[in-house]
């Protein structure tokens, strides 16, 4: 079985994000970029499945500019076998991403697709669901545990508001990962060397999906959140209650 993992290059989770002065976007010059953390978990899960002998190839794909090669190389250094870059300089909305990924699925015919549940830059949490729908295959989102049952099915434990829910899906399927699924491995330096020799195929977005719908959303401006006013330390619970009463927040 082949596993396809879709990843995205994003501003590193720990960077204090700054909006460009003209509001046209988020500053990325000289800013540390990484694999979207949920996608890193998706890669890790695919590798673990392969290491258990349940898959024989892990292919990573991303849609992005040429710098995204760096994240694909990292994925291959972690252990992915090959990578596909669908190159574009423009931002892609979830529905478009799902359409592009569907084309890659049609080419690659994976038995399982794993992605992060959302990318931390736009927090859409839509692409895996849309992809499953377009592909007409089952989806198991927010996975915190993935288990093969042996009859071409997966038991997936999902993190939902009420707690944990375990569902069964038939393969091929789309799984999206939650934070607790696994702890991604460190990358060994020798594996970075090896990753340089692994195949990375670059395709042009317009060739992959010529019939793609145009931008459906236009971003008008970006704005930083209003700075929160400073808190005050209170000495006692009584003082806290008094302040809340004064502000009319409690009766």
């Amino acid at each position: 079985m082949k596993i396809l993992v879709a990843i995205k290059r994003v501003v590193d989770y720990n960077v204090r994000v700054q909006v460009k002065p003209d509001g046209s976007g988020v500053a990325t010059d000289g800013v540390k970029m990484s694999i979207n953390p949920f996608d890193e978990i998706a890669i890790e899960e695919a590798l673990r499945i392969k290491e258990q002998g349940k898959a024989d190839e892990v292919v990573v794909v991303t849609i992005g500019n040429s710098d995204s090669q760096q994240q694909l190389r990292t994925a291959m250094a972690m252990g992915a076998d090959r990578a596909v870059l669908v190159e574009t300089d423009s931002a892609v909305q979830p529905l478009q991403a799902a359409q592009v990924l569907l084309k890659i699925i049609e080419e690659e015919q994976p038995g399982l697709v794993i992605t992060g549940k959302q990318a931390i830059d736009d927090d859409n949490n839509q692409t895996p669901q849309m992809l499953a729908t377009l592909w007409n295959r089952p989806q198991a989102t927010f996975a915190s545990q993935v288990e093969f049952t042996g009859d071409n099915k997966l038991n997936v434990t999902r993190e939902v508001d009420a707690g944990l829910e375990t569902i069964q899906v038939e393969l091929p399927a789309v799984v999206s990962t939650d934070l607790r699924l696994n702890e991604p491995r460190f990358v060994k330096l020798p594996d970075i060397m090896k990753a340089k020799r692994k195949p990375l195929e670059t395709k042009v977005l317009a060739d992959v999906a010529p019939d793609l719908q145009g931008q459906m959303i236009e971003v008008l401006s970006h704005e930083a959140p209003q700075p929160r006013s400073k808190g005050v330390m209170v000495e006692s619970v009584d003082e806290l209650i008094n302040i809340l009463k004064d502000k009319g927040l409690v009766g």
Partner: protein, 459 residues
């Protein structure tokens, strides 16, 4: 002084002052991170401003009472420990950051500002305060100044001393001094600021400091290398220093790693254990990092290596180094914080290994430290069955061998933790009799009645 007598004295002579004689406060504020003394403070003060500190000093002078400046109490030399009914003065209320000046790239910090608080402040203003170490979430800026704290980026950025542009202090005689006033250049005679930096509370109180911030470095990469031997540590350092723009070069032994793994529940970052590890932080440059790794492998110094792919992973790798002190804290470790010239480190470590094998055959010894600065933290762990006092005595008797060796290398018995109480008996290994006598005389100038942290550093 009897507690009742003391409290009535304080009520009459220091009216309105916040203080506590609660046993829990006396215990908490009467000690630092060392665990070799029973805390014996008579009272803990919580002054609000410089005038209150001055008043405490005046009253202490009048009654020949010893006062101890207390910061974040993360010190490793028992500098802030009360052992004989001293008055502890906690600076926790001096926690304001103010007067940020973007042109000067300076900011004022109160004595009790937590180191990490300043680091965050700098980051929020697009700047960087580079002094950092595992206790930065608790230590105070004045504590850092009073110990001239070093840490993990000294290699590139220097010590706390290099960031102090101005100091407001109250001397042991109760005089208020504004030292250097934030100037970059100031050639007007003796610069007392530098006497107060690293003075461990024996001259007076640091009340406020003007601190220099710097531009942040470019994106940093973090690499953990597994090494084949102790010799390899400095060979890899020479190689890395010539190739990478290093910010940190830290080392630790396999035993240190094992303690962190079991204490924190971490996995081994590698498949196997290796005798030594070095952690490097440097300006991101994958090709050069690879070059260091491959050359190290070819020379058989390096066995394996990891490079962080995200800031999160970089922080995880740092945990293996920064978690060491905490992971061994419950063994009441006897800490040696020693340094020699960087070029002397290999020979020194070789000879030290022999001394330790001969003198500490039954104790577990943990090696780690800021080895890129020639600074080694050698920790001796107390066997569980052994009494703390007996353990300390035995460690101190071994010191003559270890410190004798340091002396022969013209090194220091305290690289960054200070002298306090713990290292005071051994100061002659690093300072001449003349220097010690002059230190005593300097103390007298600022603190004629010897009320400031009496018994610490020098007599």
């Amino acid at each position: 002084m009897h507690p009742d007598k003391l409290s009535s004295l304080l009520e009459t002579e220091l009216p309105g002052m916040a203080w506590s004689m609660q046993p829990s406060d006396l215990e908490k504020f009467g000690q630092d991170w060392t665990r070799f003394h029973d805390p014996q403070a008579a009272v803990v003060f919580f002054p609000n401003d410089i005038k209150e500190v001055q008043k405490i000093i005046q009253v202490a002078n009048r009654h020949q009472q010893v006062v101890i400046p207390s910061g974040g109490r993360t010190g490793y030399s028992a500098g802030a420990v009360a052992t004989a009914g001293e008055w502890v003065v906690s600076m926790v209320r001096f926690n304001q950051i103010s007067d940020f000046n973007a042109i000067d790239q300076t900011v004022k910090v109160g004595a009790g500002v937590i180191t990490e608080q300043l680091q965050h402040f700098a980051e929020e203003h697009g700047l960087f305060y580079p002094v950092d170490f595992a206790s930065a979430g608790s230590s105070h800026m004045a504590g850092n100044i009073a110990t001239n704290a070093g840490g993990i980026r000294v290699l590139r950025y220097g010590l706390t001393r290099d960031y102090v542009l101005g100091l407001t202090v109250v001397t042991g005689a109760g005089e208020i001094l504004h030292l250097n006033k934030g100037l970059v250049k100031n050639a007007s005679g003796l610069d007392f600021r530098h006497l107060f930096i690293g003075s461990e509370g024996i001259l007076g109180f640091v009340i406020e400091a003007e601190i220099k911030l710097v531009s942040p470095p470019p994106n940093q990469a973090v690499m953990l290398l597994a090494l084949s031997s102790l010799d390899a540590v400095m060979s890899v350092f020479a190689l890395a220093r010539g190739t990478l723009q290093l910010s940190s070069f830290e080392f630790f032994s396999d035993r240190a790693l094992k303690h962190v793994m079991s204490h924190r529940g971490f996995d081994n970052p590698f498949e196997d254990l290796h005798p030594f590890y070095v952690l490097l932080e440097f300006d991101e440059d994958e090709d050069q990092a690879m070059h260091v790794f491959e050359s190290g492998m070819e020379s058989a110094w390096v066995n394996d290596g990891i490079i962080a792919q995200s800031i999160d992973q970089a922080q995880q790798l740092w945990q293996y180094r920064e978690g060491i002190s905490e992971s061994i804290a419950h063994y009441t470790p006897y800490k040696n914080d020693i340094s020699v010239k960087i070029s002397q480190v290999p020979q020194f470590m070789q000879q030290l290994e022999d001394v330790l094998a001969a003198e500490y055959p039954d104790f577990e010894t943990i090696w780690f430290g800021h080895i890129g600065d020639g600074n080694l933290h050698l920790n001796i762990l107390k066997p569980e069955s052994m009494d703390t006092a007996a353990f300390k005595t035995q460690c101190e008797s071994v010191n003559q061998h270890v410190y004798g060796l340091i002396d022969s290398f013209a090194g220091s018995i305290s690289a960054e933790h200070g002298v306090g109480l713990i290292k005071k008996p051994f100061l002659p290994y690093s300072k001449s009799a003349e220097e010690i006598r002059l230190m005593q005389q300097v103390k007298q100038v600022f603190d004629p009645n010897n009320v400031m942290n009496r018994g610490k550093v020098v007599d």
